[in-house]
């Protein structure tokens, strides 16, 4: 009996992070979890608006949660860290501010339904940890990732603010715990909750290149071969900006950046073609081949 969970993809999961979505579905399939994509999902809002009285920026995330409720769902699973953060914070906001929720519901009158804050927003990592359970994850490992040193990078959106954190805010371990189950070696990354530079990547590429240098150089010094993340924006910044990092820092060395689901799908025995390595700027395949994992 498979468990169907309403799934909110978000825009990057359909474009630059398609490999994240594909591999997450592969991983979920091993535990009989089916991601049921929300029929009419819209932009999550992209950035959570910090202004307390501007409800317009919260209409988009709340509309998505209303549509989950309309489709009979009680929760939604999210992969993208940015979407997770925006949706969850908007949800908490309307739960706490009923007056603002009334305003947002009034704007959404064409939906012919009202939202009540009832939908639960969950990140896939939470479902893997709390519902699937580590022992079941371990059972699915067909190809232990022996000899691979992995650093896990969380960035900010899964952990801050505290109300939406999926794990310990200062010292999260969920990704490391999973990496251990996969048979790889966990490398401690002291900068795992630092900022990747976020949207500065649009206009201030150098800032991102320097953040990338700091994070990846630290990972390298701690002995990592690859770095994993759950955020498409962190992934873009840490992967794509390595060329500028190399230009600006002579001692920088390229490092493959993977989604945690790619690593899981690899350990679960899925074929290389299904793991979506083609779009990566820094190709993870040589590092994996070197260790006999591909």
């Amino acid at each position: 009996m498979s468990t169907k969970i309403p799934y909110y993809p978000g825009c990057t999961l359909k474009s630059t992070a398609k490999n994240f979505e594909d591999t997450a579905k592969l991983v979920a399939s091993k535990f009989d979890i089916e991601f049921e994509e929300l029929a009419k999902w819209i932009c999550c809002g992209a950035v959570y608006g910090l202004s307390s009285d501007n409800v317009m920026h919260k209409v988009a995330p709340v509309r998505n949660m209303l549509r989950v409720k309309k489709a009979g769902g009680e929760r939604m699973v999210v992969l993208c860290s940015m979407c997770y953060n925006t949706l969850k914070r908007a949800n908490l906001y309307v739960r706490k501010n009923k007056d603002k929720l009334d305003v947002i519901n009034a704007i959404m009158y064409l939906e012919n339904a009202t939202y009540d804050g009832s939908v639960k927003v969950q990140h896939f990592l939470e479902i893997l940890r709390d519902e699937v359970g580590y022992s079941n994850i371990k059972k699915e490992v067909k190809k232990p990732l022996k000899g691979l040193n992995v650093a896990a990078y969380y960035g900010c959106l899964l952990l801050r603010p505290k109300e939406v954190a999926i794990d310990n805010v200062e010292s999260p371990t969920v990704m490391e715990d999973i990496v251990k189950l996969l048979g790889a070696k966990v490398v401690n990354l002291p900068v795992k909750t630092e900022c990747c530079g976020s949207y500065q990547t649009v206009s201030q590429k150098d800032i991102i290149a320097d953040r990338t240098y700091l994070i990846l150089n630290t990972a390298r010094e701690m002995g990592a071969d690859v770095l994993i993340t759950s955020c498409p924006l962190c992934h873009f910044n840490l992967d794509r900006r390595q060329d500028i990092a190399k230009e600006r820092h002579h001692d920088f060395e390229f490092m493959p950046i993977l989604y945690f689901t790619q690593l899981m799908a690899l350990a679960f025995g899925f074929e290389e073609e299904k793991l979506g390595f083609e779009p990566h700027f820094v190709d993870p395949r040589p590092a994996l081949k070197e260790r006999g994992l591909l």
Binding site: K14, I42, C43, M56, V59, A60, R63, M108, L110
Partner: protein, 240 residues
């Protein structure tokens, strides 16, 4: 206007008139008139803000409010019937961002919209566009489809757009949805829609003169035989 009296005699009756406000000025216009008729009845001579008069051209975009209702509604003047106390004004033209591009040099994906209409990504999901659309399109829905790179969905969802411009007037993200949508439909038509392979085959056949015998045969058929052929024709020929 006349109506039958009980005795069957014709007697003139007074046309029922209702009050409407055209650009704030009150007029009494016949009940059942369209907004377009009402404006002309009131004495305005329309040179812009009117076109086909059949609901297809999108030239007569109009916004109105009804008494006791806060909602600003949109409609085509030629298709919307006046209601008592309606406040009406036409929006004959919408100044809007319109990109120039060579369709042969574009990629049918989200990057094309990032280049020509970056304001697409300012969409707040407020749905003000859909609320005012006289064609009752899910305007926000097709903009959101574009944001996630689903050009085919955007092309299909916006297919009935008549480019009246009302969505653009209401959009807090200040984008021109209708010009963005036509780019989606052009990309779909140029790059994504299924190619009709049978058409190439048939064109080649026609060049080779293969139609002559078939025409002769069709011309020789009786009406009954033609009807039978029509009913039994294969309409499920393969397009893709």
């Amino acid at each position: 206007m006349r109506e039958e009296s009980e005795k069957g005699e014709k007697k003139p009756t007074k046309e029922k008139r209702i009050p409407v406000f055209i650009m704030g000025q009150k007029y009494e216009v016949p009940e059942g008139f369209t907004i377009l008729n009402a404006i002309e009845y009131a004495g305005y001579q329309l040179k812009r803000g009117v076109g086909c008069r059949e609901g297809f051209c999108g030239a007569c975009a109009t916004v109105y409010r009804l008494p006791g209702d806060y909602k600003l509604r949109g409609g085509l003047a030629c298709q919307t019937v006046v209601q008592p106390g309606m406040y009406i004004t036409q929006i004959p033209f919408t100044p809007a961002q319109k990109a120039t591009y060579d369709i042969e040099k574009l990629k049918p994906d989200v990057t094309t919209f990032q280049k020509f209409y970056p304001e697409v990504f300012r969409c707040l999901g407020c749905n003000a566009c859909s609320k005012v659309c006289p064609q009752e399109l899910d305007v926000m829905g097709y903009i959101q489809a574009i944001m996630r790179g689903d050009i085919q969905m955007a092309a299909n969802m916006s297919f009935d757009c008549i480019m009246c411009g009302l969505c653009t007037m209401r959009c807090p993200a200040e984008m021109a949805q209708y010009n963005i949508a036509i780019l989606a439909r052009r990309l779909y038509g140029r790059y994504l829609s299924p190619k009709s392979e049978f058409l190439e085959v048939r064109l080649k056949e026609i060049e080779e003169g293969k139609f002559e015998e078939q025409f002769k045969e069709i011309m020789s058929l009786s009406k009954e035989e033609l009807r039978k052929r029509y009913v039994e024709r294969d309409i499920n020929f393969k397009i893709t």
